[in-house]
């Protein structure tokens, strides 16, 4: 009986203790939050081979799966170590010696070595691969002879030992390290990427923070945290990339809780920002938006006053406020704020219809008389069409006749690009440029150098030997403080002396991200650079927001 009483007392005491513990801890313990990020992408990534990664969809996926020798800090865009933990640069700026981080694994669990780096970079230069991003490594010693098939290896790529690689350049290239941070310069395992059947296109293998676990085309792509990632296992256990083409449907899905991340918005952005103030994020972006002139054809060829007339005639401020609702900011030149070498003192062009009319007189078209009706080519997109119509109205006010010509992207592209030898038929067209790496060269060399006339970037076929010489000289210098004055002078000539295009606006990036997604940093290099490996989900999702 005593035993029974003692036992009863023991259980009563234990129960009381349990109740006390439960009360002291407040609410019952919360279930662990499922670390899943569901993000929208318009469609399947066209190129899961990093050597061919040349669009934002492919870059987004490739940056999650692959890593290169170096990376960019998402906030400051400064170079940070990635697969290489450190590097040395020779005094003449020609040799780069990279020391690889020990214990970097590919998703197939093989250890990455310097031979993989040599293989990956040789592959980009291989004529059989025909990489769209060959230019990032084109300055390595022996790259040209290798690509032309005159040598069997690239002389400037040497694996010194399993953990060290030396890259020698033909000529100094100040931003060579930045080029190695682009998605195309990823390190890939030879045994996977030598597959003649190209199995790597459906099952890419890299050494990045996430590995592909499932890909149902046109439905979703599932990325799983890579446990052996050298930077530590990502906090997100998986990422579900959902392919939703119609942005209106995707917006409903976001509102409904089926997505944590949206890269495109439908309707008035100011309304969306008011509706979801904690979700709406806006940040600077290294990209410029303009309407280009075909400088190889009349009436723009050789007529700088006409080009200046266009620039004075357009009210950029009103364009940014009325059409883009303040999401874009008027530009004064080519380089955008945040780009090294950005010149805040560049005057650019103010809205001045009076000066536009004066310039038209000097151009030989007083009041616009004698000017043919110019087609303004725009690819089908509602905002771009509205922008074109606003510019059309401003130009008409000073007597310049313009007709908006909307076309599907393929037609638009053909009208613009032409061939390296012959310009396209479009005389006046919308254009935009994003920097792949944070350097003035990423804008000025590709857009202005006569070497890149045509599809390579200089669509307008601008050619000024003085600007070419400045850009070539700036490329060959190593010290940024020596390069910047040269880039600024090249930009000043192109903008103020030559009025190479109709300067309009600097891009910004706007995305919707649920407030319970933490660790988000919007990089000036674009939303594709949001560091997925640093994100985590903080609050438990409500019932309607459970991952599906």
């Amino acid at each position: 009986m005593i035993l029974f009483r003692r036992s009863l007392a023991f259980w009563a005491l234990a129960s009381l203790l349990l109740v006390a513990v439960a009360c002291s801890s407040g609410e019952p313990p919360k279930p662990a939050v499922e670390q899943v990020l569901r993000m929208r992408m318009r469609e399947n990534p066209p190129d899961t081979d990093p050597a061919q990664s040349a669009d934002t969809l492919s870059d987004r996926i490739n940056l999650a799966i692959h890593d290169g020798l170096v990376d960019f800090d998402p906030r400051s865009v400064e170079l940070i170590p990635a697969v290489a933990e450190s590097w040395d640069i020779s005094h003449d700026g020609l040799q780069f010696t990279f020391h690889l981080r020990p214990g970097v694994h590919f998703h197939n669990h093989r250890v990455l070595t310097s031979a993989d780096v040599v293989y990956s970079f040789t592959r980009i230069l291989d004529p059989k691969v025909n990489s769209k991003r060959r230019e990032i490594l084109a300055d390595i010693k022996g790259a040209e002879t290798f690509t032309r098939g005159k040598s069997s290896s690239v002389q400037g790529l040497e694996a010194l030992d399993a953990g060290t690689i030396r890259i020698t350049l033909e000529r100094p290239l100040a931003y060579f390290l930045q080029l190695l941070g682009t998605p195309a310069a990823a390190i890939v395992p030879r045994e996977v990427y030598e597959d003649p059947q190209k199995g790597f296109l459906s099952h890419p293998v890299g050494c990045g923070p996430f590995k592909l676990s499932r890909w149902e085309r046109s439905q979703f792509m599932e990325l799983e945290a890579f446990g052996d990632y050298y930077g530590g296992r990502p906090k997100l256990s998986r990422i579900l990339v959902r392919f939703i083409e119609n942005p209106a449907s995707a917006m409903e899905e976001y509102r409904h809780g089926g997505l944590e991340y949206m890269d495109e918005m439908v309707g008035s952005e100011s309304t969306i920002a008011r509706e979801m103030p904690q979700d709406y994020r806006k940040a600077p972006f290294l990209g410029t938006f303009y309407f280009g002139f075909n400088l190889a054809r009349l009436p723009f060829k050789g007529n700088v006053e006409l080009r200046k007339a266009f620039n004075y005639a357009v009210d950029r401020q009103a364009l940014c406020e009325q059409v883009f609702e303040g999401t874009l900011s008027p530009s004064r030149g080519i380089l955008t704020p945040g780009t090294p070498g950005y010149n805040p003192e560049l005057k650019g062009y103010s809205y001045d219809p009076g000066r536009a009319r004066e310039s038209l007189v000097k151009a030989g078209y007083p009041g616009g008389k004698g000017l043919p009706v110019l087609d303004l080519w725009v690819n089908n997109n509602q905002k771009l069409l509205e922008a074109a119509q606003k510019v059309q109205a401003d130009l008409k006010a000073v007597g310049i006749p313009v007709r908006v010509k909307a076309a599907d992207f393929a037609t638009f592209l053909q009208a613009l690009q032409g061939t390296p030898e012959a310009p396209g038929e479009a005389l006046f067209y919308r254009y935009g440029w994003n920097a792949d790496y944070p350097d003035p060269d990423a804008f000025l060399y590709w857009l202005l150098h006569s070497r890149n006339a045509g599809p390579a970037g200089n669509i307008g076929r601008y050619s000024n030997p003085k600007v070419d010489a400045l850009l070539d000289r700036a490329r060959s210098l190593v010290r940024m403080e020596e390069r910047i004055p040269l880039y600024r002078e090249a930009e000043r000539i192109a903008v103020e002396e030559d009025a190479v295009w109709l300067f309009l606006a600097d891009y910004t990036q706007r995305v919707l991200i649920k407030p319970y997604v933490k660790g988000v940093v919007l990089s000036p290099l674009g939303a594709i650079r949001i560091p997925l490996e640093r994100l985590w989900i903080e609050a438990p999702a409500p019932a309607s927001q459970k991952p599906r």
Partner: protein, 334 residues
């Protein structure tokens, strides 16, 4: 003639009919392939420029792509090469995806077929039922109301209707998912294809069905009213057959021939015309794939998709012809 001989003769008749229909398909396919090829060839836009990276492309890469894909060859050479591959059963590789077109079709066509069939089931059940109701209460308020709704459904743009259904059933009521195909559908063994989840199928199927439902309802009503005027129906009515039995047993079967025709045409149209629904509901179907192919000037993909739809169209029509014999024993295949 004994029963076995009769069955054998009927079987031979059906086989011969099918063979003739399939053979007659060959010139149709050739004409369609040629027409599509010509249209895509003369359209402005260079697939090589799109493959090379769009707005920014290395001229050397562009030249290599053109050479690799034979895009520099003359039009007749490209056309004949394509026909030769097609004749050997090779649809080629998609320019943009770099994968065999046959694999892309195998991934996307079943999704479209499932959507179209589900829509057809909903539309035919609803349309026939409403058509019977209209005919039974001809010129009464029910008839007027249903006829008005049918007309509205036929006139509504699918894109708009889809978005409205999403707002109602997914966003407001929360009964159904907004979009997508679902991740947990049953995988069909031996194929890479998995079925959609039922809850994901309902809204897109309903969107497509509502469009067809109106037409089926109107045809059923008209056809049924026509049959109800036949002398044998009047006799049955005079003999005291109940109105329900009169409509459903005596008249409906004979009224179904034009309905079956409309169903066949609708199903074939839905197979190729589900693109707006696929777009709204992020449905991974063939229609959307073909539209992308056109935008990307992806000739092998568009050709493959159109051939697939052509075949489906013809097969559906053959099935409709066979259905006639089931619905009306007087109909014989010739």
């Amino acid at each position: 003639m004994d029963r076995g001989t009769r069955a054998r003769l009927a079987e031979a008749s059906v086989s011969g009919y099918l063979l003739r229909r399939l053979l007659s398909l060959l010139p149709v396919l050739w004409a369609v392939v040629t027409l599509i090829w010509l249209i895509l060839f003369v359209l402005p836009g260079d697939p090589a420029a799109l493959m090379a990276g769009g707005l920014r492309a290395d001229p050397h890469v562009l030249a290599t792509i053109r050479a690799d894909w034979g895009l520099d060859d003359s039009a007749p050479v490209q056309y004949l090469r394509y026909l030769a591959h097609l004749a050997s059963g090779d649809f080629g590789n998609s320019y943009l995806q770099g994968r065999p077109v046959s694999r892309i079709l195998a991934e996307t066509f079943p999704a479209t077929a499932i959507l179209a069939l589900a829509a057809m089931v909903l539309a035919s059940l609803g349309g026939v039922a409403l058509g019977v109701v209209c005919a039974a209460w001809e010129q009464r308020w029910v008839d007027h109301l249903v006829s008005f709704i049918s007309l509205v459904l036929i006139s509504l743009p699918v894109f708009w209707l889809g978005m409205m259904l999403i707002l109602l059933f997914a966003s407001s009521l929360g009964w159904l998912p907004v979009l997508g195909y679902g991740m947990e559908g049953r995988r069909i063994p031996g194929t890479g294809f998995h079925l959609p989840e039922l809850k994901h199928l309902i809204l897109p199927a309903l969107t497509l069905a509502l469009f067809s439902l109106g037409a089926i309802c109107r045809v059923t009503r008209a056809s049924l009213l026509e049959v109800l005027k036949q002398p044998y129906v009047r006799s049955a009515r005079a003999k005291g057959t109940s109105p329900l039995a009169l409509h459903l047993r005596a008249a409906l079967r004979n009224a179904l021939i034009p309905v079956v025709t409309v169903l066949g045409i609708d199903l074939a149209t839905l197979l190729g015309g589900a693109v707006a629904t696929e777009f709204v509901f992020a449905w991974p179907g063939l229609g959307k794939t073909i539209v992308h192919g056109i935008a990307d000037r992806d000739l092998p993909l568009v050709e493959g998709g159109v051939i697939c739809l052509c075949l489906a169209f013809v097969l559906v029509n053959v099935a409709v012809d066979l259905c006639y014999t089931l619905v009306d024993p007087r109909v014989r295949l010739q």
